[in-house]
């Protein structure tokens, strides 16, 4: 069916590295967009949490990039892509408690090593690709449930 891939909404948000004043705002925008579409609160919550974790990771560790929100009829997709530094061992980085966070990030309440794991747990489909020196792309998909008829 062609309808299944119809894009209902597309938003692109740039992310600046180390911008701690703004960090988290994209997630609040995403939440409001999804609420405005009348989506199920559980879907909105999961998408918002995934977005928040991804956004914080990009702000804290990446050299900047962008977050793309795609709402399709049966799913919410959030794409995170950054310009580096890349993740050498994705399996290791995904494990709860593993963190490369510097002390300043921990003192801000981040860097407990739960981020990627929490993103994965709140997503129905989750994929990370990364190349050291180039960047990381994460695609998180939350299924809306029974597809629209």
């Amino acid at each position: 069916m062609v309808r299944r891939t119809n894009v209902v909404l597309r938003r692109i948000y740039p992310i600046a590295p180390r911008d701690l004043e703004q960090a988290g705002t994209v997630s609040t925008h995403v939440r409001r967009e999804l609420l405005a579409l009348g989506m199920n609160p559980d879907v909105v919550r999961r998408a918002s949490v995934v977005c928040f974790e991804g956004e914080m990771n990009m702000v804290l560790y990446s050299q900047g990039g962008r977050i793309i929100l795609l709402v399709k009829e049966d799913r919410v997709e959030i794409l995170f892509s950054d310009h580096g530094p890349g993740i050498a061992d994705i399996d290791l980085a995904s494990q709860p408690g593993y963190s490369t966070a510097p002390d300043w990030a921990r003192e801000l309440g981040f860097g407990a090593g739960l981020g990627i794991n929490n993103m994965e747990k709140n997503s129905d489909l989750f994929k990370i690709r990364s190349r050291v020196g180039e960047g990381t792309v994460v695609r998180a998909t939350i299924l809306v449930g029974v597809p629209f008829f």
Binding site: P96, F110, G111, L114
Partner: protein, 131 residues
């Protein structure tokens, strides 16, 4: 428990949202680490007890649909964070008490701990995970 009762129990002040003093919070969650809040809280309308006063605290409270934020240890958020919270409608309170006493008094006052998420959270450290 109503925010009004919480404020009274802890000598807490409303920083914003005093007009919602009759709002009920369902349960409470205490942490400074926001990753823990994002990973753990399932309920809505939860009272977040924290010593962190960064703008991210209010944004996390917003995306998690929390009932109110209670800052402990006498720390106050910046004016821009307060203004942002006013816009979201999430009440902010502050007490000079430490987090331990705050939790103790609210727990004794009958406020329940927030329930965990429905998925099983892996508490294992990386090296224990294979089991």
């Amino acid at each position: 428990m109503k925010l009004r009762d919480i404020a009274e129990l802890l000598d807490a002040q409303f920083i914003t949202g005093e007009d919602q003093a009759d709002r009920e919070v369902t349960s409470a969650f205490a942490a400074d680490l926001l990753s823990d809040v994002l990973a753990m809280v399932k309920d809505e309308g939860v009272l977040l007890i924290t010593g962190m006063t960064t703008p991210q605290v209010v944004r996390v409270a917003e995306v998690m649909n929390m009932g109110a934020v209670l800052f402990v240890r006498g720390k106050l958020p910046t004016a821009s964070t307060v203004a942002y919270a006013s816009g979201t409608g999430i009440p902010l309170l502050a007490t000079r008490r430490i987090m331990f006493e705050t939790c103790g008094a609210l727990y004794q006052g009958g406020l329940d701990p927030a329930r965990r998420k429905h998925f099983p959270v892996d508490h294992g450290t990386p090296d224990e995970r294979g089991s």
